[in-house]
Structure formats: C-alpha cells, structure tokens
Symmetry: D3
Subunit: 73 residues, 6 copies
C-alpha cells in the first residue's frame, strides 16, 4: 500500500512524462518491495518556480541567471 509523492517544478511536464513517472515508480515498488500495484498511489505535485527555493533563492532566479549567462557567451 505505498504512497509516493513526486514534487517537481512546473516547467512543462507533459502528460506522457507523467505517465512514465507513474508507471516507473509503480514498477519499482513492485520489483523492490513486492507491493501490489492496485494499492500503489503516485501523486505528482508541480510547483511554480517562484515557490521552489534552493540555495536560498528561487528556481525562477536561478533559471534567469543561467539564461543570461548563456546569452553572454
């Protein structure tokens, strides 16, 4: 009866990618822990880049800086 929460930034995750995450995670739990897929939940939570921080800054800020660095080269 596993419950899995996958939290990622909301940056264009497609329906096909969501299906691949759900299939892959479920298969992993079946293979590693012999869980019943019928009672395996996988929930994907997409988080705006303004709402995700790492190293003390938002992902929005990190993406903007990375983009400006690419333009500068």
């Amino acid at each position: 009866m596993p419950y899995v929460l996958i939290q990622v930034t909301r940056e264009g995750v497609s329906a096909a990618q969501k299906r691949a995450l759900i299939e892959g995670t479920t298969r992993l739990l079946v293979e590693v822990l012999d869980k019943d897929p019928a009672t395996t939940f996988v929930v994907i939570d997409e988080v705006d880049t303004d709402n995700w921080g790492v190293a003390g800054e938002t992902v929005t800020a990190r993406r903007a800086r990375a983009a400006s660095q690419r333009e500068a080269t």
Copy 2:
C-alpha cells in the same frame, strides 16, 4: 494541535463538500482524541487526474476506460 491533509482528485469537489470534509474531520479529532478544534487544521489538496496514478496508470486513463466500457454496454 492536529494537522490533517486530505488529498483527492480534482473532479468537481464543491465548496459545500469541502466544508463537510473540514467539519467532519475536525469533529472526529475532537471526539476521538479530545483535540482543541481551535488548533486543528484541515487542508484539502485537489490533484489533477493526470497527476494521480494508481495501479501504474493515471486516473485520467482509468476514467476514460470506465467511460468507454459504459458506452460499450
């Protein structure tokens, strides 16, 4: 001081249903554990059917299959 998270698929949960979930959960915690309702939080998280997987497939896919089976009968 309980905190309760209720995660359900986003399939038209009405404001009245949300109120019923919040009232019922709070009452349950008061009755069973004698908690103070003033510091009992209930958070409802509605998840898109593309983002919820069970048995290795999305709820979107399950709903579509159930609908096509109903039509076929």
Copy 3:
C-alpha cells in the same frame, strides 16, 4: 482514491483510537465524496512533542507550563 495524512503529537494515542480515526475518516470520504473505501488511505503520523511547535514554542514547553500552572493553583 483519497490519501489522508493525520499528524498529531505522540501523546499516547491508543490502537483503538487509531482504528477510530481510520474508520471515521474513511466513512467521511465515502459519505461526502462517494469515494471507494478500498482505495482510501489514511496515514497517522505521531510527532514527538519536542518536534511540534505552535506559537513559536514546542508542545513540550506548553505542556510543562500548563502542568506547573495547574500545580500552582
């Protein structure tokens, strides 16, 4: 396919109380949202009073103060 997390302080919640929380929450989701109990998960997370803060202090500190106030009267 709901998933419910009930987070409470670890202060002697009995097995019977846990069963009552699980039964009551599941019944609520069936009644309010017509959910299938077979795919309704309820997870109870007991948190040490040192690890739960409210109003900027731990529940441990709040319980100690309440106890000393009762003794003082």
Copy 4:
C-alpha cells in the same frame, strides 16, 4: 539536505515575500544546524481559502465573518 514545506493560504503572497521566506528559512537551517544551503530545498504551497479549515470551518468563512464584523462597527 533539509527539505522545508511552507503551507500558507493563497491570499496574495508576492514574489518578494516568497523570496524572503526562502532566504530566511535557508539562513535559519544554516545557522541552527550548519546545513549546506546548496542542498536545502524550500517549497511554498499556497492553498485556496476554501481548502483550508481551522476550528471546523473554512478560512473563507472566517474571513467573511471578520469582514462583516468590521463593517458592523
């Protein structure tokens, strides 16, 4: 490697406030626990006031009552 989830009602949290929450939380974990900011995640989850309950009622209802009380005075 801390992970911090900050759940608040969705009531106009600005981008600047989100940055302040992320910076402040990360600094706190560095100062108190000597954590590496590079692997400190802070996720802000904004919840609709219809979906947040306290004392058995939605925040929507609490805000409406508080507003009508202010008008009445």
Copy 5:
C-alpha cells in the same frame, strides 16, 4: 530539483531495498525529466501497520485476517 517521498508500511524494509528505491527513483527522474541527480532527494517514510489504514481498517488488522485465513486452509 525533485523531492520524492515514498511512504510504505514498516514491515522489514532492508537497507539494500532502501538503496534500490533511492537509486531507482533517482534514475527515473533523470531519464524521464532530465533532472540533475545531485539535487534529487528521495525520502523513505516507514509507517507502523497500526498507523496505516486502507478500506477503513488498519494494515495490522488486514495482515492478521490474511494470516488466520491461511491457517484455516
């Protein structure tokens, strides 16, 4: 920068199985979403069977019933 929470019942998950879950989940996020493994967190939360409910009863009760049925045959 994904964060993954894997919640399972505490029923003897070995250190090797935990490593397999962490490796497999991280690889999945790299393959499907091209995420950087260095900032991919996987947290495994083991939950006592008394604290996990499905279909309105604890996993403890389900395991006991399944065991008694096996003995009866």
Copy 6:
C-alpha cells in the same frame, strides 16, 4: 494559519536546536507574511540517514565515504 514541515536527517538534532528552528520559522512567518503565531505550526521530521537519498545514494553512504576520505588524508 501557516503549517511548516522541516525535514532533516536524524543526526543528533538537540532539543535546543529544535526550539531555535521553531522560534525562527515562526518569527519569519510573522515578519514576512504578518501571520498570527498562535496558529502557526512547525513540525520537525527527523529521517534516518538510511532513508534519505540524494544523488541516488543514501546519506549513510555519503557520510561513510566522506569519513573514509578524511581518514585517508
């Protein structure tokens, strides 16, 4: 009415450090979002190093490697 979850590895977090995390987080929410401390929850979840993965390996493995590298120098 904020709810904050702070998830860290279980590596000897002291009661004083927990108090500092709870005080600091609550103060931050008051300062940045003008929240009422009386309804601000902070929950600290300590996770075994076997149960926390980053970069596809457990924190246990990372700590062991770091220790053996220090000894080798």
